[in-house]
Symmetry: D2
């Protein structure tokens, strides 16, 4: 078979899989450039570069995308309280658009004909990367080895990869592979596959890499405060450490440190992947968990009730789904996020928190907005409030309910004697 | 002024307010029956009865509504993951329909012309009670002293109530009133008003009545497991205590005991009342918090993705709003809850949990349903999965995205160079 | 009783009700300024001014609000396809924010202490006006005679108003009152009350004021075309009349003329008012009906599927509810409409229509956007499309459905034999 | 290549495509049974049977599915007001589940190893059929010739099919193929492809097969009435014809006759297919259009406001999407439709309609439900209504709006002078 040709920009991780893919692409006749995005993962980028070049990459690009990751992806998700299936804070999903944009940018600049990645054929990340590629550059060609029969049948097990690595001169670390996979960035680390595929297996204590177990966290609580402007954190105060942070990246990293120390931000779930397969995942999102608690709390004090209800039902849920399914560079994402600023205009103020052994406890909050009014809220003073107004309110609210009840009674379906109306008995 | 007449069924608590209302109603010329619902609150019902009769009630009714509270209100809310404004589990809201139904039932049986309650004019509970009354018996007449000018101007402060109590022979306990109000039932206790009206005031440690502070909870975690059928808990196993519970009320009460012991279920929020006033509330919901964590987790394993998404966006949010706003006996509640059984048909299985100092940690789950498939989910084996199918899936998913990107590029709005498309920079 | 005092700006219509209110306010001791908004209704404003001054108004203000009505209220509603309860195009609702803003503006400029209106106590308009007043000027004082017992008991029937008019020197036209009420502006005319209160009474043919009955409309169809930019009409071409319109107000008025001529835009419904009462209303909205048909059609050609679906479910429905309920000057309106521009960015193109006896028939449409692609859509050519991709798409889409079906079969609930799964048999 | 083997049940239409597929499957070594569903299309089933057997089918099955099509698919869609993208009544989508269920039932009974269909690779119907197959019988094997390269490359144009037909002894009718495709059943007929692929081409007058052009419809209107029970039509009265219909199928067919006569039910749209391609389609749905108008109208009189709003936003939209995308045999369909009965309990009554040249005009409606109350609705009598209650209602409704306006004013963002708050100027 004649060699394929052209230049490929490969999303390279430094690991066995993408090193083998790199070598395989060269074997197929491609010229390969290796690409790494620094999104805050703990990684020896220098060693990865050396390895890529040794395996045969013609060039290596390391892009520092930490700031845009924080400011353009993480912070809007914080503003919108994004969460998937009630629990997952979307750490991997959030990094993908930034990485994909970095790759498309480098591919355009460096004249690459193709981009390639090492994602498997069953996961979410292949979808997220490729839909982002197509949304940014619709004519880009994508090589996906783990979905090409000539690749996945040839490398059907780990041993085949190891053999190929040896034959191709790819250095293999002697450390035993962990019985799960991880993905890390400055938002979180994820664990899946391997022994975690049995959803009834408790993750071993030594799996969790970032966050101290609540049992081992300090016996003494630590108080902090976070100030928000338009729903965005603008100051983190850590009195015990006599520190204040105002840069968004610094704030996020400092919250990570605090969450890791105090055992905050671990979850273990079974989630529904975009392709319709259920999957078990464990995640550590220390700073994001604290930030979410604080932001949600401040909205109680500062966000109008109806805006909050509409935002929760539509913006939060739809933006979260968009992020999870990799639909970031789409018209629906543009549509949905266009409503974020109007939703956060009044979310200004300070939340005070106590961190203790897995718990993020709100201990107070204040705001200059004035939507909360002690006098008006008070049960002890009238504060300009006319109690008779509520009588009118309730009478008007009850008009259609009374009509319905009258109709029920006429039909013999009155609520009093119709316990079965509930339909909910055990 | 001539005396009013007729028989009133008064929701009686045994406290100063409703005792004064009782005496005042009699003073106005009404015959008063006192009504108490046992919804699991800690209360000396015998003493309350004696007090009511002493103050002048002609009859006293104590209705034990604990079982119907658990089976008809709490459990459907558990099935639907009900929550208000992301945090509040609706403990007070859930009790109101049961109490109102009990009152309407007694009022009908005992020939009462009126029902009455002691709720203030700014809160949610007046609305919940009255809309429930009207939904059950649309021609019921309701006397609401705290919204009647002749009452609330006469009893403008606590001292006026105390004076009236003394004059009316109402026994007043010498214990100093706490600087907050509470409402308790077997689901939760709430704290509001008084010193809590400043949302930046941390609740004093001795306010929290039910739940041990996480700092004081046991140093040793405790493992339990909960079995669900159709989304309803049917067995709680507590191995350390060598106990199993299968009755729904027993299960709920035992979970309360566990939550109280391990510091689980406190929240402190600013919420939006139905009348549009913001209000600060603190709540302790020990068992409900554990049960919610377990139920949500099991849904990950057993609920179809699309059912879950639709249920979260519509049923959960709308049913929660209905409960909070007191719209239980309404056509929209009947409509919304009619979809619960179909949503929970597959939610069968067991969740294993670790309880520790405020944390409810899922440590495993299993189900006979078979919607989770290890082989299919596995990253290590193909399990009958064709990776090339995903290529087709992604190509089809990208059709409209590519079209949109092409249009953007033609117009010079391509994603790559259009960072401002985000509109989310700090 | 001592006279009340202060200056009132009264929303004046020139009719019997508001003339009596004007006189009554003066009788109560107020100084009254009369306000009329020209929102395109057919009205003899000069005669109304003379009448107001004759009755005793100190000043009279006529504000021409037609342009802002069209550009700031009607056009966003067209962009968002606003509709209430599937049928009503919101003509009255749309005018209220503009009129209320005009009043608050004049009241502020002219130093009025109060505003007042003649809306009844059961309708929507009182709510729309007053919530708009409070949203613009929260400390404004509003006098609502039809909700004041001293007014509505004194003027309990039409004769009492006539007697008062005579006594107060208010000129009363000799024309017999029509047995229904109307509200007119350049968007529509509404009919309600009187003989229409029986929902089974067919409106008499001579009630309909604006639109020719379809039976009497021309036998010959007329073709027109409308060009949109960002979802807004920018050119109307009427070839039969050799006319083109490009100004938004001119476009709307010309569409009105066309709709009136061709019998387009009548409806007759029972709707649910904000206060929970059902109400029968008839409406004529000629131009708006044509414009809506054209806009919805163009979105088929130019709007992304997912944007359209999200917009329909959230923006259209919520904005329509907001408009109907008079919540225009609220944070939720600001939130919801902030998403309109992003939803309409691609809605550019031309729709060609045939108008004929009540029918608005789309006969063609084109757009420069390129989201529709004949080649791609074609059933006759592949157009770069790989049919095998769809196989992959369907396989992936079926993963969770197969799993569910397998579980059903295991439980004996397989779809084939379970016709009752439908639950929908007659 | 060795012959494939096994028995295939082929969805057969009698046309050129499926006759060639039949012959091709036999050529490939399969035994083929032909299946036709009678869903009310105009078809010579006898001729089709003869042709199938002549081409080589071993057996032929004609299943009469009209009744279940009407009662199990169409009627629930009527109850839920199903509509796709504001305009399309889903006629093709509704038939697919019934046909697929018929096929799976025959395939199971007759021991077929495969099912097959002649749908193209770009349309919706392939998806609807196959997802239904998998939802009913997850292990069914499906042969999709138009997505198999060995088929679609061999039969790349119509001439290749004609040549193969001639060689295979397939009778070809001499009638010139129409320059569009159609799909017909008792709900509707659809037209797409061919000359319709240019969305600016007006469909030729002779394309429309079922419905008289409004221009050619009778000059005299015809009045009818429809009675509903639980949202389902139970009696159609056609006084001019002195006819009444009470059987659901009869009602639907009689409405079809009326709609066809009076020019009611044509649409011409560009819609978004499930695979993300935009597509132009024309549809004639005569009876369904009349029925929808009547049902929506009756809901105004009989459905609670909040039920209607929730049903419109969730049930109608989600069920419509489910139907369009072929997700009928899925858990989400089961979930969504489980709420239909509770939504329609009160939708009882009669709607009177006038049919005239494309218009379905509601001329009256009545109901025994009593949710509409003339006294209560009346603008002329109080009817037990206290106007002062509305004052209280508006005061309470305005609480949060005033707070927001006060905050705006403090910040200098007051509504009066901030026309740009709208963000909607042309």
């Amino acid at each position: 078979m004649s060699a394929k040709s052209g230049r490929v920009l490969l999303a390279y991780s430094g690991g066995l899989d993408t090193s083998c893919i790199l070598a395989w692409l060269i074997e197929q006749g491609y010229e390969v450039y290796a690409f790494m995005a620094d999104v805050g993962q703990e990684e020896d980028f220098k060693a990865a570069e050396e390895k890529a070049l040794k395996v045969g990459a013609k060039k290596f690009f390391l892009e520092d995308m930490r700031r845009e990751f924080v400011t353009e992806l993480i912070m809007p998700a914080v503003q919108a309280n994004c969460i998937y299936e009630n629990v997952y804070l979307l750490g991997t999903s959030l990094a993908r658009p930034v990485i994909a944009r970095g790759m498309i940018s480098v591919a355009a600049r460096e004249g690459c004909d193709y981009v390639s990645h090492g994602c498997t054929g069953k996961g979410n990340d292949q979808v997220r990367f490729e839909l982002a590629f197509y949304g940014l550059k619709p004519d880009i060609k994508v090589i996906t080895p783990w979905r090409l029969p000539e690749f996945y049948t040839r490398f059907a097990g780990r041993q085949a990869l190891l053999d190929f690595a040896e034959a191709s001169g790819i250095p293999v670390t002697q450390t035993k592979a962990k019985p799960w996979s991880t993905d890390e960035n400055l938002f979180h680390i994820s664990y899946e596959a391997g022994i975690l595929e049995d959803p009834d297996t408790t993750p071993p204590a030594d799996m969790w890499k970032l966050i101290t177990a609540p049992e081992d966290a300090p016996q003494t609580p630590e108080n902090i405060s976070i100030e928000f402007k338009a729903g965005l954190p603008i100051k983190l105060s850590v009195p015990d450490a006599k520190k204040e942070y105002t840069d968004p990246v610094d704030i996020f990293l400092a919250l990570n440190t605090l969450g890791r120390k105090h055992g905050i931000g671990r979850i273990d779930i079974v989630e529904n992947r975009f392709i319709g397969v259920k999957s078990r995942g464990c995640y550590e999102s220390p700073g994001a968990t604290i930030l979410r608690t604080a932001h949600v709390d401040l909205e109680g004090l500062t966000l109008d009730r109806n805006v909050r209800a509409l935002r929760d039902q539509f913006l939060t849920i739809e933006f979260s789904k968009i992020l999870y399914n990799g639909h970031f560079f789409t018209p629906e994402r543009e549509f949905i996020t266009s409503a974020i600023p109007a939703s956060q205009r009044t979310v200004n103020g300070v939340v005070r928190l106590k961190l203790y052994k897995g718990n993020t406890v709100v201990i107070g909050r204040h705001s200059p907005e004035g939507l909360y009014d002690e006098q008006e809220s008070s049960m002890d003073v009238l504060g300009g409030f006319e109690p008779t107004d509520t009588s009118g309110f309730i009478q008007i609210e009850s008009i259609r309910i009374k009509k319905w009840a009258q109709a029920n009674i006429r039909k013999g379906q009155a609520g009093v004697d119709a316990a079965d109306v509930y339909g909910t008995r055990l």
